[in-house]
């Protein structure tokens, strides 16, 4: 009979196989697998199995409209990918956007969280709700709102810019200004990052701020020496999710250009290129190969982030 009442009672010496299967280490492992069980089952059914199938698909010329004619083509799809100018264009476009969007999102979400966590602020809960609110608008709708807002003739932004003497660009039809425009649209997506930051900020013990204040630390020093180190696991989480989200950016650009990648292929991000190969041209095999390229890029970037952050992230209550 298994003893499940607590590990301390089993510290009494036992012998041989009994120790191995009924000892605290075995029981801990048993419970560990029980708790991660739902995920393990889901991993097999919804991720690992389909991944193997998708990998197999990327080695064929599988076409959704003629599945019975599927042939094994080896790594032809991957070779073709390196020569495909649209794939190169889409990677460059995605990187251009990421270089603008990721830093902007990280800074804006932390700035909002700090502002909304300020002890000198009245009306906090109203402001938090208001900043989070755009997250609740379906992306299709919020994108259409922004397209209207940025319209050089009937929108408001260029009118406001004009009133301070600046001639606004044609945001969504310029292959340069489309990136700031998408970054502005993306600002409405910082709600989750901001809330996660806010949760982290509220977890910082107030004694530390008290101590810093008594030691005469200013706002900037407190931010750099206390706040950011203490919420660094949360910042890392946000950064990784933001990079991944950027590489999976889809709904906004699809709404913007109906999938055409306008203007001038500037919004032909890698995810859109993949989607078009799969659902416009039915080249499922080739699309699977692009999906694996996308996965490889994101994996390398994520591992790089973890590697860079490994010595800079602080876990409270952990023996790391």
């Amino acid at each position: 009979m298994a003893d499940t009442t607590g590990s301390l009672q089993t510290l009494a010496p036992s012998t041989g196989r009994r120790t191995r299967f009924r000892g605290p280490a075995f029981r801990e492992a048993f419970w560990g697998f029980v708790f991660i069980g739902p995920w393990l089952i889901g991993l097999a059914i919804f991720t690992a199995g389909p991944m193997i199938a998708s990998l197999a698909m990327s080695l064929t010329d599988f076409n959704l409209l003629a599945a019975e004619k599927t042939r094994f083509v080896g790594i032809d799809n991957y070779i073709q990918m390196t020569r495909d100018p649209l794939v190169a264009t889409s990677i460059i476009a995605t990187l251009k956007f990421a270089l603008l969007f990721v830093p902007l999102t990280m800074i804006a979400s932390l700035a909002f969280a700090l502002l909304l966590n300020s002890p000198r602020l009245a009306g906090k809960s109203v402001l938090r709700t208001l900043v989070y609110m755009p997250m609740m608008i379906p992306l299709v709708a919020s994108t259409l709102v922004w397209i209207g807002f940025l319209n050089p003739n009937t929108g408001w932004l260029n009118g406001i810019l004009q009133s301070v003497g600046v001639v606004g660009p044609d945001w969504t039809n310029s292959d340069v200004w489309i990136y700031p425009a998408l970054a502005l649209i993306g600002l409405w997506g910082i709600g989750n990052f901001m809330l996660i930051n806010l949760g982290g900020l509220q977890g910082v013990p107030s004694e530390l701020y008290e101590a810093a204040r008594i030691d005469g630390a200013g706002l900037w020093t407190t931010l750099r020496r206390i706040t950011i180190p203490l919420i660094s696991p949360i910042l890392l989480y946000n950064l990784v999710i933001c990079v991944i989200a950027t590489f999976q950016y889809f709904t906004q650009i699809y709404t913007l250009s109906n999938g055409n990648g306008d203007p001038n292929n500037a919004t032909l991000f890698i995810n859109l290129e993949l989607f078009r190969e799969a659902f416009w041209f039915s080249r499922m095999g080739y699309a699977s190969a692009i999906a694996w390229l996308l996965f490889a890029i994101v994996l390398v970037l994520t591992l790089a982030l973890f590697w860079v952050a490994r010595s800079r992230v602080y876990y409270a209550g952990s023996d790391r």
Binding site: P38, I45, I137, Y237, L299, Y315, G317
Partner: protein
């Protein structure tokens, strides 16, 4: 200065400084609050644009000289007929709002609507250069049109049902899995955690097509099941976030409970969950709104079942149909966000009540 005088001055300075400190604190609070409200107002300005647009008549959107708020051209009746009102400047510098009854090329006849005798006024100049007079006039019809054409109550029911069931599954499973990763040692744990992270960054397109085949073979295509059941197997985003929180809870609390004879489920229920209610609430909120706004998966599985479709699909199809009518589109966007905003306002209270209280502060 005498000794007594110095003492009195010091005391009065002390009182003044306490008043000054209170005043300074009040001023700091007022300025930070004002700054925050201005920033947030700017952040949400496109929403005001949306509200404005949704209350405007389609004809106002492209009309030159129209005001930025919902308005209609002013009219007045004269001898049973309706005439438009114009802002007419006069040589003496005054401007009057008059109805144009007889438009001519170089001179036109106007009547002052407040003039009981209705004496026509001859005005020299080109009437086409005049600004039409607009009156504030919000149009609610856009909303009723959208509500009826979209069968909004049905869309709301579907969206809420899908979001609720998938949120229950996501929260239950993610708490269990995050607890497993945060608190137990088991063989292959590090490898499994790396695999979990890899599933976060796995583009959903990689598994999309084989999944579609599986769900279709199971006969789930055209039902809510593909939208709900996968969430009962833990979401890597949620597990990662919850694990980060669980790891920051001091292990001493677990160990104290363990000495008192608590088992793993008991520790989860009485230590881990109460310590991280804010994070769990956050995960539930995130997932609810993710499910509410999800577009791609419902489109994939419910394209042929309009009676089961959620709001995002209904709105998108409506947008595709009425792209040339921004007033209706903005009204539909507003109606779509109304319920999530209310739900969030309600959940906000729970969120605030359970604001992180760390082990250190307790």
């Amino acid at each position: 200065m005498t000794k007594a005088g110095t003492f009195a001055a010091e005391r009065s300075f002390g009182e003044r400084s306490s008043v000054a400190r209170m005043y300074r604190r009040y001023l700091a609070k007022a300025s930070v609050t004002m700054f925050a409200f201005i920033v947030v107002a700017a952040y949400l300005l496109p929403l005001l644009y949306m509200v404005t647009m949704s209350l405007e008549q389609p004809s106002q959107v492209s009309a030159p000289g129209a005001p930025p708020w919902p308005a209609a051209p002013m009219t007045a009746t004269y001898e049973g007929k309706s005439y438009p009102l114009y802002s007419v400047p006069f040589p003496d510098g005054s401007t009057r709002q008059l109805m144009l009854i007889d438009a001519g090329r170089e001179s036109s006849k106007f009547i002052d609507p407040s003039d009981a005798t209705a004496t026509p006024i001859e005005w020299q100049g080109r009437w086409r250069t005049l600004q039409q007079a607009w009156a504030f006039s919000p149009l609610v019809e856009n909303y009723t049109t959208v509500w009826n054409e979209l069968d909004f109550p049905r869309l709301l029911r579907n969206t809420f049902g899908i979001a609720l069931f998938s949120t229950i599954g996501a929260v239950l499973s993610s708490v269990l899995v995050a607890y497993g990763f945060a608190r137990f040692r088991f063989p292959g744990k590090n490898l499994l955690f790396i695999i979990l992270l890899a599933t976060i960054i796995l583009p959903f397109q990689v598994t999309l097509l084989p999944q579609y085949v599986i769900f279709t073979k199971l006969g789930w295509n055209g039902t809510w099941l593909p939208l709900i059941i996968p969430h009962f197997f833990a979401n890597a985003y949620n597990v990662f976030l919850l694990r980060q929180y669980f790891m920051s809870i001091p292990r001493e609390l677990d160990e104290a409970a363990m000495i008192d004879g608590a088992g793993p489920f008991r520790i989860l229920r009485s230590i881990i969950i109460p310590q991280s209610l804010a994070a769990i609430t956050a995960v539930a909120l995130f997932h609810f709104f993710f499910a509410w706004n999800d577009f791609f998966v419902p489109l994939l599985y419910l394209a042929s079942k309009p009676e089961l479709q959620p709001l995002s699909i209904g709105i998108q199809q409506y947008n595709a149909l009425y792209a040339s009518q921004p007033t209706l589109i903005q009204a539909s966007a507003l109606l779509t966000m109304a319920v999530p905003v209310i739900v969030f306002f309600l959940a906000q209270r729970a969120f605030m009540r359970t604001v992180v209280v760390t082990g250190v502060e307790k």
